[in-house]
Amino acid sequence: MIPEILKTRAEQGFADQFIAGKAGLPGAGNAWVEGLRDAAWKTYAATGLPHRRIEEWKYTDLRTLLRDAYPPAPALAEALNGDDIAQALGKDMAGIDCHLLVVVDGHFRAGLSDVSGLADRAKVHSLGDALGDPEDWLKSALEQTRSDTVLALNTALMTGGVVLRIEEDASIGKPVHIVHLFAAKDAASITTRNIIVIGAGAEVTLLESYVSLGSTPAQRNSVTDLRAGDGSRVQHVKFQNENLSSVHLTNWMTRLGADMTYNAFQFSIGASLARNQISVAFAGEGTSSHLSSAVMARGKQHNDTTVVIDHAVPGCESREFSKLVLDDAARGIIQCKVKVHRGAQKSDGYQMARGLLLSEGAEFYSKPELEIFADDVVCGHGSTSGQVDENLMFYLRSRGIPEAQARALLITAFVGEVLEKIANEDIRAAFMNMAETWLASEDE
């Protein structure tokens, strides 16, 4: 049954999980869901975990980096309350006024969530429940055909997540905050999926936080599938601060309608191994996508952000701006591919990645890729890496600012420049505080 291609203990472990656990997964008994999972499982089993000879995974060889497959986190095992959520988020994030959706160890927890303020503007469901008898629109959202084995593994093993539908022309002021919490007592894997559908003309800020309670190692595989309707205005922010023994694999799959704006941001400071995969597909003309990220890593943290922007239709604009602060032996990776399809004229794409290296052992890899099959487009890319600028240091010190404080000010400024891209002031201020806290804990 298990093809021979599976070589490593981790690959075999995930395979065994599916065989042993599929009867207990949400949607078991529903023929369509079982078929979906079986097909995904076969895709995974045929190739196994991605490795360095697959170009998109060149810098993050999961076959080597994942030694074992942790068992799935037990469902609803932990009795938690709001204080636990706040503790895991930290005071800056917990202080953000929001509509709260909580997913613990891969399962949506209505009791910990508060969606009363969304009223008739949005509908929230548990994906685990929805899989019992999925509606047609949900089926189409779950069907993914790309050759991504981590995505296939997610489809085979997903236990839950949030299904969020925002009504047409709804305007939601406070952020809708989806908190993905890892709280299991023992090392465990969590496989979640969020399905978000935003109606035409709606305006919303979505915030996803990935955090852990305690230091138990986790392996997270999370997918967020987002489809935004014509004329909508969407801010989509991710905060990742999983504990430092965790593996964090996330995959944002975004599909944008016409004449809309998508403003996305990812702030990543946690996890020992993080892979932030983002794909943005333009499905309608006249849309702009601005995607930014800030990464702060030290020790042996490995953080890989891999982006694919798909200009499938004419007249869209894409911007990607990344900043990485890397200390000790941390490794930061930015891969960004911009594809402009034949006929996607008047496409406008630009990407910039900047790495700030605070120590000799830190590594920054930047790989821009442009694939352009139209002749009337503007596309560009840039990348810089360097240390803290000594001329700036001298200027600040000549104004009485001591060395350590001057250095912290400049690093904060480096990160601050990209945090400015976040439109929501509460989120921006929380991230800024956390960046400062990160710097202040440098000597620990």
């Binding site: 010190r397 000549s398 600012i401 001591p402 000010l409 904060t412």
Partner: protein, 262 residues
Amino acid sequence: MAGVKERKTTEMLEIKNLHVKIADDDTKILKGINLRVPKGEVHALMGPNGSGKSTLAYVLAGKDDYEITDGSITWNGEDITGMAPDERAAAGIFLAFQYPIEIPGVATMTFLRTSLNAIRKARGEAELSTPDFIRLVREKTKALDIKDDKLKRPLNVGFSGGEKKRQEILQMALLEPSLCVLDETDSGLDIDAVKIVSEGVNALRGPERAMLIITHYQRLLNYIVPDRVHVLSDGKIVRSGGKELALELEESGYAAFGAAAA
């Protein structure tokens, strides 16, 4: 200069036989400078490009691209050559940069406050409260014709040359240093900006403050009238005199003073 003679003799900048080279190679730039600037006086240092004017400014502020191979620099009798740039700032030394640095991501107001509070802390003074700080900045910016929106923007980013120079004078006015070194403060300024900047500098003249104005041209000295003028050529001071020396230079050029015209 009346009254200056009664001052304690150590209350001055005193540079003796200063030799400086570039730290990374053997290029010698300053070749035996001797200079005294007492508190209460404004001295101008003039000279052609490449004579070592800016190097002297940087060495006074403590930039580590340079190495002192001989001689000494004392401020109020204290040797400053071993002090870090921030320690020198706390001791009252301020360099107004020829090319003020742009710092993206640091709001001007944040920078000013961090700087002022760091210096106050080093001097054993309490930090200013936010309202007091804002009041103080308002008062200083008004005189320099600096608009509020500039204070919210990242320091010097997208500022014109004149705006950057005004920011330097603003910092000087806020930090109230006792030794001001102004490096080519007039370069790149139109005549109106020269007037505004000069007024800002003149407002800071006083018995407790020594100033060294570094300039290539005499023009600035029409507005900031010096007590003494020194001519620097090839790393040495080749002539010193009163304010009339600047006018003489303007007419005859540096070549007449044995300096190679740049």
